[in-house]
Amino acid sequence: MRIEKQSIEQLILDFISSELADGTTPAPQDDLLTSGLVDSMGMMWLIQHLEDEFDTAVPPLDVTIENFGTVGAIAAYMSRRLTNSASGVSSQ
């Protein structure tokens, strides 16, 4: 499966804006959790949304600041994950 990082990023931004942040759209490099844009439960919903959207499971221990700190990081992680899972390689 090949999905552009940019389109994943837009999907994440749309979800945060409409479901988690009351219309506020973060910049791709904004720190989501420490800035308070998204709380811990919101982060779990975002992950669930991505799992549903891309029909993939995010291993719990992949949920780190490196992979989920910003919208850009999440998009890069998901893009890697989807590309690797298509070729049978771990995303980490």
């Binding site: 959790l33 420490t34 811990s40 499971a57 780190t64 700190g69």
Partner: protein, 383 residues
């Protein structure tokens, strides 16, 4: 859709009921009155296989039961064991200590801690709450500072179930304050370590046989091999553990509600006033129907949430609803049971008032019901 139980599941339930009635129920009133933890019963549970129900055979000695079947057995335990504190402590260890170690632990950690907990030799506690970090759990202050070979932990956890008697505790601590919620890590602290002190038993209203208290850490060394998951995994571990906790920790109270209802029905059928059994009065029979309704709706919610988790589906809304509804139902039915049994129900002799005292804590622990309503509302798209 299938609501029935298999023959194997029914046999397990029957075996648990027989075990609990024979081995666990005697002396519960005295233990409650003195606030004593029944260690001998805990060990018997280990020998029977209660703590190991959901654990793989290599750690428990018997094949792992799936989540729904394990909960069905714990439901049966609550039905047949009159000591709600004991069943609560067992559930607390099984779902908030053993399960996170199974899901996130290294092989060394699983081998070292799970068999001893399954056998009933070790008691585990889940230490997250602090004096100023209750519902706002991520505002905790306990720090873990890296040192040669591991970490040094300093802080004070409070209201920790089984802290005064625990051999080990999962302790949530901040490893990197700069990273906010991402800077949280989890450690398996062995309570005989230097710098780890188990506080005294804090007296409380109910669940008095499940001792709880503080865990005080003062520059306590924890080896790196006892960190659960990577540094910064605290958010993931806590989110995962909290969902299991909400879904599972009250399961034995479902059984207790069933026992309570049977006692109330029996009393309403045999107690006569104004020349007839009190159950003939609608004021009483309607109350018993309300108790039945609460029991059945709680049961449906709980097994639906467990089934969802077993399928690997998101169960955050279901778990919040289970925790909320079951805990409030147990309080309401405890009160209705006393109303039905009148003066006798109010005495300690009938052992009915104890269930009401045991029920109250359920609206507070595992995330207060106010927080569960917030969680459910958000999951329903209401912000």
């Amino acid at each position: 859709m299938e609501f029935g139980w298999s023959t194997d599941q029914k046999e397990l339930r029957a075996a648990v009921i027989e075990f609990a009635q024979n081995e666990l129920s005697a002396g519960s009133r005295d233990d409650d009155s003195t606030g004593s933890f029944p260690r001998d019963k805990w060990e018997k549970c280990g020998a029977f296989g209660i703590q190991g129900l959901h654990m793989p055979e290599q750690y428990s000695g018997s094949p792992a039961r799936d989540l729904v079947t394990s909960l069905y057995a714990m439901d049966a335990l609550g039905y047949a064991c009159a000591d709600n504190g004991l069943t609560f402590a067992l559930n607390a260890q099984m779902w908030t200590v053993q399960l996170p170690i199974l899901l996130f632990g290294s092989e060394y950690q699983k081998e070292r801690f799970l068999p001893a907990m399954c056998r009933g030799e070790f008691i585990g506690a889940h230490a997250v709450t602090e004096e100023h970090a209750g519902s706002d759990v991520y505002s905790m202050h306990t720090r873990a500072v890296r040192c040669d070979g591991g970490y040094r932990l300093t802080g004070r956890k409070c209201y920790v179930t089984c802290a005064p008697i625990a051999n080990l505790a999962l302790v949530f601590a901040i490893t990197d304050p700069e990273k906010g919620k991402w800077g949280l890590s989890v450690f398996i602290v062995e309570t005989n370590s230097d710098g780890c002190e188990r506080g005294p038993v804090v007296e409380k209203m109910g669940l008095r046989t499940a001792p709880f208290g503080d865990l005080i850490l003062t520059d306590c060394f924890v080896p790196e091999s006892n960190r659960l998951g990577p540094e910064g995994a605290g958010l993931t571990v806590s989110s995962n553990a909290l969902e299991y906790e909400r879904c599972c920790i009250l399961v034995s109270q479902l059984g207790a509600m069933e026992r309570q209802l049977e006692q109330s029905i029996e009393y309403a059928k045999t107690r006569e006033q104004f020349g007839r059994p009190i159950g003939k009065f609608q004021a009483v029979s309607h109350r018993l129907v309300d108790m039945k309704l609460r029991l059945e709706t709680s049961r449906l919610l709980l097994y639906q949430a467990a089934w969802r988790k077993q399928q690997g589906e998101n169960a955050s809304l279901d778990s919040a609803l289970v925790k909320l509804h079951l805990s409030e139902s147990f309080v309401a039915s405890g009160l209705d049971s006393i109303r039905t049994m009148g003066g006798l129900g109010y005495t300690s002799v009938a052992e009915i008032e104890r269930s009401l005292r045991d029920a109250i804590g359920g609206v507070l622990y595992a995330g207060t019901n106010d927080i569960q309503r917030n969680n459910a509302a958000r999951a329903m798209g209401i912000r």
